[in-house]
């Protein structure tokens, strides 16, 4: 290309370079902020399904990366708890079994906790359970290092 034509081309391109770069930065920062928003929301309150109550983390010892005290989960028809990542509530500690327990709701709307033959057991209000037990508002469930508290509102929404 002729020298003076190249000069003009290069001079004009300057602005395009800056524009592109800042667009790239803008999109990247936006992407970061969106992820940040999700991380903050965490699994705190997600009510996409009808919920029968709330199970919250009352106490959580060191060594668990996936839960922390104060987190709340909606109790669904079938809420699995365990170490493996396909559980609804994941506790990544060696002393928690891969499929440890499940909280489920039966046809009458009652909420039960069932131990899935776990190694170290599931504890309800301090007592180890052997068969499915009904849970009431205020009950404490302990699995491994985590203690959950159950809250059932007086008028639970029962959807279809």
């Amino acid at each position: 290309m002729r020298a003076d034509l190249y000069e003009i081309t290069s001079l004009s391109s300057r602005y395009i370079f800056i524009l592109l770069i800042y667009l790239i930065l803008y999109r990247t920062i936006k992407s970061i902020r969106m992820e940040y928003a999700w991380a903050e929301a965490g699994a705190a309150k997600i009510s996409v399904e009808p919920s029968y109550g709330i199970i919250s983390v009352a106490e959580c010892l060191d060594g668990v990366s996936t839960l922390w005290a104060g987190m709340e989960f909606p109790i669904r028809k079938w809420t699995t708890i365990g170490r493996s990542s396909d559980n609804y509530i994941i506790i990544d500690r060696e002393d928690v079994s891969k499929q440890h327990a499940v909280i489920y709701v039966d046809e009458t709307g009652d909420i039960y906790i069932k131990d899935l033959k776990s190694k170290n057991g599931t504890w309800l209000n301090g007592k180890r359970i052997k068969r499915p037990k009904k849970v009431r508002s205020g009950d404490c469930i302990s699995i491994g290092p985590v203690t959950f508290m159950v809250k059932i509102p007086s008028n639970p929404k029962i959807g279809r």
Partner: protein, 465 residues
Amino acid sequence: MVNRIKKSIKHMSIVFIAIFLILIVYLLYVYFFQGYRLANSYYNSRIAQKTQNIISGDIKDRNGDILATSRQKGEQWVRYYPHGALTSHVVGYVSSKLGRAGIESSQATYLLGLNDGLLEQTVQRLVFHEARGNNVILTLDYRLQKVAYDAIGNRNGAVVAMDPRTGEILAMVSKPDFNPNDLASLIDKDALYNKVLQGLYPPGSTFKVVTLASALENIPDIEKQVFDCKGYLNVGNYHLSCSGNKAHGELNIEQALAVSCNTTFARVGLQLGYDALFKTAKNFLFNKTFAFDDMTIYSSNFPKTVVTDDELAKDSIGQGQVTVTPLHMAMIVSAIANDGYMMQPRLVKAIENSRGRITKEFKPKIYAHPIDESTANEITDMMVNVVNNGTGKTAKISGVTVAGKTGTAQAGGNQEDHAWFVSFAPASDPSIAVAVIIENGGTGGLEAAPVARKIMQKALELGYK
């Protein structure tokens, strides 16, 4: 995972964000405040390169008189200076061996059109098939410059004239000088040095205006105080004497300024004390590094730490460790002339593109406010007295009130004294301020004042009011 690790990581993230922000801020600072000077730096080889391909714009005085232009010599374009040595220091030069200097250097970016907009560059290259820089219009008035140049004649020294209301420099001469059209036959490299901006001299008695200002601000009723001059004063081990050992007898400070009585001003300096005098000198911008886009001025000096009495006495009369550049002296009297407001000195008035349209104008800016209006007026009155009744009689202009101060500064060793004169006119509404120094010239009143007079007279003739 442990919460404390999480917290520590968050802390470290904040530290990293902070240090990167510092990086960003500092980069912006460097570019914003120093970028122009860096681009025009003597050490920037890009300027010399661009000179090959771009026709440099003209440098003109405020009335359009061409001071520097580009001419074709065969295949090449070379710089030609119509007025040669008369404008040599202000305009500067372009040389492959010596580099660039003066306005040719400090305004290289404009002269070569380096920061012209895209549209301008496109039009030039594609429509006019050439690359031409901008013209730089100076504040200089060649008519005044010629008068100043002729007035100083063959003597070495510096002359600078400026408009105290705007800070515009109307004339700037430094001798010895050189012929910018023929740098090859230059013998004395010292001639390249612009003494107006870079010559540091003891101000001698011209400094008494600063001591006076300090006294008026810090010593109540100093005007009424009576001093007794016996022709000499012993301060510690130092024997200070008035010019010719003359005993001035009883006099007040106004009279002392008129006759330039050393003993009185030494006493005033001692009465003020180091702190007060230093503060006034600081207000007048001593010890300050001036960094302007159109000129580099060396910093004037006033001792930065407390000195002994004998040194203080010397400083009060402008000797000792005090040194000053001629331009700074002009700025000081300009402040006195301009109700205490020191305007930023300017050499560049406007930028004009290659087709004659003004693209940038530089407006006058207040640079400092060393003294208040009443002090300035008092000093002005006393400086008028210097010219009417004192050592500055040779600067009188009929029909005009001139304010001035002479200076005869000891140059050290066996050299003759430097002759100084600083002045402005007309005293009631000053439109021209001048500082003259004749190196080893003798007495200020005899040698320097007439030079200043000629310049002021011409300025008023030309219509600077």
